[in-house]
């Protein structure tokens, strides 16, 4: 007996500048679709309709328009960049459809017709900067790609760091895809910053990490690197030596030990091969499709209003842990984590939040004075500890 079909739009740029990540996301969406279609737990099946806008911003509009008119989809999973999401939002708002958006982004948006499954800025950049201030340094050198993610991340870093009495030592930006980075590596080596925040993306980041590793090794110095975008497949691309030791913030790492994730990784490897590793955006795309399927099941309908209501506060034990949609802003409660990259293209998690954190896309609950006071206190404690050990030595 075949289950009734529900058309599902998948919009990923399998070709173009960020094809590698988009292919991972599409693979993950199709894996979730197959699991749902084969599962007895869902009394319907998804019929995926794939569209490839080729990374061309204007083509996202056409792709979604076509999915809605021709394939009659009520729900679309896709987009990776903010520019592409901004193209899709007017159509889903006008036609009252839902876009399920897997990628983390810089925040400052909240559409009734988008379910934001990726992390909000309070899940990614904020815990990472807090960790840096508490345990590494309060002065930081920032390097990133010249686009909205870096601009906004750097702004948040600057706000938090300066409110805690620290300094932004430099802010260097490279055009997307730029690989002429020797002058910046030379500057970093010359200034030896106590911390380096890397928001470069793609090839620029890989080339920079390799060159910096070589230069720091030659100079015999170590500079802690922080990132809130590095993922497992990228560690491989950077190379074994140069990719180790980077402190990274993310809602998902392949190494999460929970049974849901170990089972997910097992199914992933059975499907894509032992060498293949699910990454944060891929996992998040899988979660998008699962959240959608569960909301449709709960609503008993694909109707957008019913599905949105059914998705709200409905907990799903996903590979990245418990996750649910906050109906206040359509972003997700999820668990921020910090990890250090280690040998073997993996991350070792050293901190995670006690419980899933409420999404704060406008960072309106970011309490800068509290962070500043905390850092002051931790510095005082360090001074106390130094004094205490000094006393012990005297005794």
């Amino acid at each position: 007996m075949t289950k009734p079909s529900i058309p599902l739009g998948l919009v990923f740029s399998r070709t173009g500048p960020y094809a590698m990540m988009a292919r991972e996301m599409e693979k993950s969406a199709l894996m979730a679709v197959d699991e749902i279609n084969q599962s007895g737990e869902f009394d319907f099946q998804f019929v995926p309709h794939l569209r490839d806008p080729g990374g061309v911003v204007a083509a996202y509009h056409t792709a979604c328009d076509d999915l809605i008119r021709e394939e009659r989809v009520a729900h679309i999973v896709g987009c990776y960049t903010s520019a592409s999401r901004k193209q899709v939002i007017p159509i889903v708002e006008r036609t009252e459809r839902l876009l399920w958006h897997p990628a983390r982004y810089e925040g400052f948006e909240s559409s009734d017709n988008v379910i934001y499954v990726g992390a909000a800025p309070n899940h990614t950049v904020v815990p990472l900067v807090r960790h840096m201030l508490d345990h590494i340094a309060s002065d930081v050198f920032c390097i990133g790609s010249n686009y909205v993610w870096t601009w906004e991340t750097n702004r948040v870093i600057r706000e938090i760091v300066t409110s805690a009495g620290g300094r932004i030592l430099a802010e260097r930006l490279l055009e997307l895809g730029e690989t002429a980075i020797d002058h910046i590596v030379a500057e970093v080596i010359a200034r030896k910053p106590p911390a380096l925040f890397n928001t470069l993306v793609g090839e620029s980041s890989y080339v920079f990490m390799r060159a910096l590793h070589e230069a720091t090794t030659r100079a015999g110095i170590a500079i802690p690197i922080l990132s809130c975008s590095l993922a497992e497949p990228e560690l491989k691309l950077i190379g074994e030596q140069a990719s180790v030791g980077c402190i990274t913030s993310s809602a998902y790492f392949e190494s999460i030990a929970d049974p849901e994730n170990r089972a997910f990784v097992g199914r992933w490897k059975a499907r894509h091969g032992d060498d293949s590793i699910p990454c944060v955006d891929g996992q998040s795309t899988y979660v998008c499709v699962m959240l959608l399927a569960r909301a449709i099941r709960r609503a008993g309908s694909v109707d957008v209003n019913a599905v949105r209501r059914a998705a709200a506060n409905h907990r799903y034990d996903s590979p990245q842990g418990p996750i649910w949609v906050d109906p206040d802003n359509n972003h997700c409660f999820l668990t921020p984590r910090l990890a250090r990259s280690v040998h073997g293209g993996q991350f070792k998690i050293f901190w995670e939040a006690d419980a899933p954190e409420r999404p704060d896309p406008y960072l309106s609950n970011l309490d800068l004075t509290a962070i500043g006071a905390r850092v002051q206190k931790s510095h005082e404690m360090k001074r106390e500890m130094k004094r205490a050990s000094h006393l012990r030595v005297v005794k």
């Binding site: 911003v57 204007a58 901004k86 007017p90 810089e106 686009y147 909205v148 601009w151 906004e152 702004r155």
Partner: protein
Amino acid sequence: MTGTSPFAVRGRSALMVMRDEREMSILRRQLGRLGMSVTEHDPDDLAAPVKSVDVIVLDADSIPIEGDAASTWKVDTPIIALIGIETPSRLKWLLDLQPASFLVKPLRSAGLYTALVVAFDTAQRRLDDAAHIERLEHRIRSRRVVFSAVLQIMRHHALSEQDAFALIRQTSMRHRTTIEQLCADIIAGGGMPKRTSRTA
């Protein structure tokens, strides 16, 4: 307020600094309906446009925050900013350009006329304010001249400061000139000038 009415948009010229063809076509059509002429400028082209226009419609998202691109658009011509990304980092960049008005993307046929009227009105008010400030600054710069002239009249005519200033003020009104100009004449001529042809 001086200048053309901000509601009169027919015959004015607009420059589009945009990338998205769909939004450009909406704008072209709508500006055409309002009787305005339209020229285009590639956002990647850092050279300032040669021809002067009445208003610039600038898609903020098409220009990187860092680099020299923004300085091309720090001009006296009023700017209508098109806003897609509402992050504080982008908005801070935009504030530096002092947009006279804005529109939120995606563009629709409604809203453009309001944005144009607000932009033209803002531009005119800025011109008026600048002229007003210039006049005030001129008066501040003339303070020393006025002070010297008052002293001179006090000495020459054995008057109190109050009476000397009153005399200067009355004379300037009679001569239909400003106090500052009369004071400059007093200092240049070594005394109160005779009535000149300036009086009609």
